[in-house]
C-alpha cells in the first residue's frame, strides 16, 4: 500500500484553496496534476541544458539529446517495449492515433474492408477512422456494450469477417472506467490477421501495461494524464509495423538524404519525428515515469481499486444517483460517471466547485457512448494516486448538498 499523505506533499497544487476550500481534484481522467520532481526537471532542463537535439557538436546539444533519448528508454522500459526505437514521441494520444490512421490506415485499408471499433471510444479513436472510412470507402463496425458497460472478447469473434483489417479499441473507457479484455481480443484479432490499435490514454497512467505480453501492434497514450506535462504523447508500434509504415510528417530530422528530386527517409523512430520535438516535455515525461516507477504501478492500481470500491459503495447510497459502468473494480479503473436524477450535470459541477471539488461534466468526448446510454451528459469523478477516501466522503456530502439545492 502507498503512503498517500506523503505522496500528496509532492504535488504543490494540492495545497491550493478553491473558493476557500481545500482543492479536491477528481478530474484526473482529463489531466493529472504534476509532482514537484517533474516541475523541477523541466525547469532544470530549460535553465541548464536547453538546446536543440540531434546533430549538435556542442555540450548543451549533446546533453539535451542524451536527456531526450534517455526518456525514450524510460518509456520503452515502462511499457515493456522490446526496443526504444518502437517508441515514437508525438504531441499526445490524439496525434498518435491520427498518425496510425493516416500513415498506416491509408496505405493498408481499401474499399469495403472493415474496421472494428466500440461505442465507448473517445472521439480521438473514432473520428480519425470514420474520416478514413469516408475517404477510402471502408466499413466501420461497432462493438456494443452490455448492461454492465462491458464488452466480451467473444463479441469480437462474432463480428470479425475475412474483410476485417483493423481493431481499434480503448484499453480503459474514460467514462465507464471499463477495462476491456484487450489481451484476449488482440489474440482473436491476430488469429484473423487483424491489426490492433490500442488507445491506452487511460490505462498506461493507472495500471501496469506490458505491450509485449498484450502483443498489440500499436498503442497510444498521453504524458499529461500520467503526471507529465502537456504537449507530449507516445505512439508505440511493433518494429516491423513501424518499418513498413510510411512517414506522415515530412521535414527535418526524419530524413537521411535529400536531393532536389527525391528523399531517403531516416530509420525509426526518427522517421516519425519530423521537426523539433517537444524536448522539455519529453524530458518531463521521463521524470513522471521515474516518479510512477518509484511508487510502483501495481501499488497505484491497488490504491485506485480501493478508492473505486469505496466510491461505488458510497455513491450508491445516494438516492436518485445512477452510476454507469461495471460495479466490479477488477474490471474497472478509477473513473466514475454518474447522474443525479433531475439535476443537470452542469449544475452538479457548479455546486461541487463551490465546495472546492473538481469533477468534469458533459459527454467527455464520447458522444456515441452517451447516445447509447440515452443520456445527454454525465458527471465524472476520476481518481489518481493522490486521492483519498476522505475526499470521496466530501464528494458524497457535496452531492447531497446539490440535491438539497434542487429538491
Amino acid at each position: 500500500m502507498i503512503d498517500v499523505n506523503k505522496i500528496r506533499q509532492d504535488f504543490p497544487i494540492l495545497s491550493r484553496k478553491i473558493n476557500g476550500k481545500n482543492l479536491i481534484y477528481f478530474d484526473n481522467a482529463a489531466t493529472s496534476q504534476k509532482p514537484e520532481s517533474v516541475l523541477k526537471t523541466i525547469d532544470d532542463y530549460y535553465r541548464n541544458h536547453n538546446a536543440n537535439i540531434h546533430r549538435a557538436i556542442h555540450t548543451l546539444g549533446e546533453e539535451a539529446t542524451a536527456m531526450y533519448e534517455n526518456a525514450r528508454n524510460k518509456v520503452a522500459n515502462f511499457i515493456k517495449a522490446a526496443r526504444p526505437e518502437e517508441i515514437i514521441f508525438t504531441s499526445g494520444t490524439t496525434a498518435s492515433l491520427n498518425l496510425v490512421a493516416y500513415a498506416w490506415g491509408r496505405l493498408n485499408l481499401s474499399q469495403n474492408e472493415e474496421i472494428i471499433l466500440t461505442v465507448m471510444e473517445h472521439h480521438s479513436n473514432l473520428v480519425p477512422w470514420q474520416q478514413l472510412a469516408f475517404e477510402n470507402g471502408l466499413t466501420l463496425k461497432y462493438l456494443e456494450i452490455d448492461e454492465s458497460g462491458t464488452i466480451k472478447a467473444d463479441a469480437l469473434e462474432e463480428i470479425i469477417t475475412p474483410k476485417t483489417k483493423l481493431l481499434a479499441i480503448t484499453h480503459m473507457s474514460n467514462v465507464l472506467g471499463t477495462i476491456n479484455p484487450i489481451k484476449e481480443m488482440i489474440k482473436v484479432a491476430h488469429r484473423h490477421n487483424v491489426t490492433t490499435v490500442i488507445d491506452a490514454a487511460q490505462s498506461v497512467p493507472h495500471l501496469p501495461v506490458n505491450v509485449q505480453s498484450l502483443d498489440c501492434d500499436f498503442l497510444a497514450f498521453s504524458g499529461h494524464k500520467m503526471l507529465g506535462p502537456t504537449g507530449v504523447g507516445v505512439l508505440y508500434g511493433k518494429q516491423k509495423q513501424l518499418e513498413k509504415m510510411p512517414p506522415f510528417f515530412f521535414g527535418g530530422h526524419m530524413i537521411k538524404e535529400v536531393y532536389l528530386e527525391k528523399t531517403l527517409f531516416n530509420e525509426i523512430p526518427a522517421k516519425f519525428e519530423a521537426g523539433t520535438s517537444p524536448i522539455a516535455q519529453v524530458v518531463g515525461l521521463g521524470a513522471a515515469i521515474d516518479y510512477l516507477e518509484k511508487i510502483g504501478m501495481d501499488n497505484v492500481r491497488e490504491h485506485e481499486k480501493a478508492l473505486t470500491d469505496y466510491a461505488l459503495s458510497q455513491l450508491a447510497q445516494i438516492e436518485g444517483l445512477t452510476i454507469y459502468g461495471p460495479k466490479n473494480s477488477q474490471i474497472r479503473g478509477g473513473v466514475i460517471a454518474f447522474n443525479l436524477h433531475g439535476i443537470h450535470s452542469h449544475d452538479v459541477a457548479q455546486i461541487l466547485d463551490a465546495e472546492g471539488i473538481a469533477i468534469r461534466v458533459g459527454n467527455h468526448c464520447a458522444m456515441p457512448l452517451h447516445t447509447a446510454l440515452q443520456i445527454p451528459a454525465s458527471c465524472r469523478a476520476s481518481f489518481y494516486l493522490y486521492n483519498t477516501k476522505e475526499e470521496i466522503d466530501l464528494l458524497k456530502k457535496g452531492l447531497l448538498k446539490t440535491k438539497k439545492v434542487f429538491l
Binding site: 443537470h344 450535470s345 452542469h346 449544475d347 457548479q350 455546486i351 463551490a354 465546495e355 461534466v361 458533459g362 459527454n363 458522444m367 452517451h370 445527454p376 451528459a377 439545492v405 434542487f406
Partner: protein, 126 residues
Amino acid sequence: MNDIYKDNIIDHYKNPRHFGQLDKPTVSHEEVNSLCGDRIRMDLKIENDQILEVKFKGVGCAISLASASMLTEEISGRKLKEAAGIKRDRILEMLNIPMSPTRLKCALLPWEVLLKALQKYWKKKL
C-alpha cells in the same frame, strides 16, 4: 455559497413558463450546445409582426432553462422588432447572477435560438 442558484433561477428551472410546444408554430428553431449536450427548441406563433404565442422545450442545466423561461416571458406578445432587438446584456440582467465564460454559453443559448428563429421567419417571408 452558490450565488448562482438564487430562488428565482430555481423557480424558473422547476416551473418553467411557456414550456411545451405549439401545435402549428409559424416558425420553430432548435440549437444544441454540443459541449454539454444542452438542447433548446423554441416554437413561435407570429401574426402581424407580433409574437402571439411562444413555447420552448429542451434539456439543459438550470441556467439555460431558467434563461429560456425568462426569455419567453419577455417576448410573449411583443413586436418582432422588439424581440429581435433584445441585447445580450438584457439576458444577463434578467438572470442577474455571476457568470463564468462556460456558463455564459448556457445562459445565451435560448437567446441564440430566438434570434435564429426570427431570422428563419424573415427569410421564409421574403
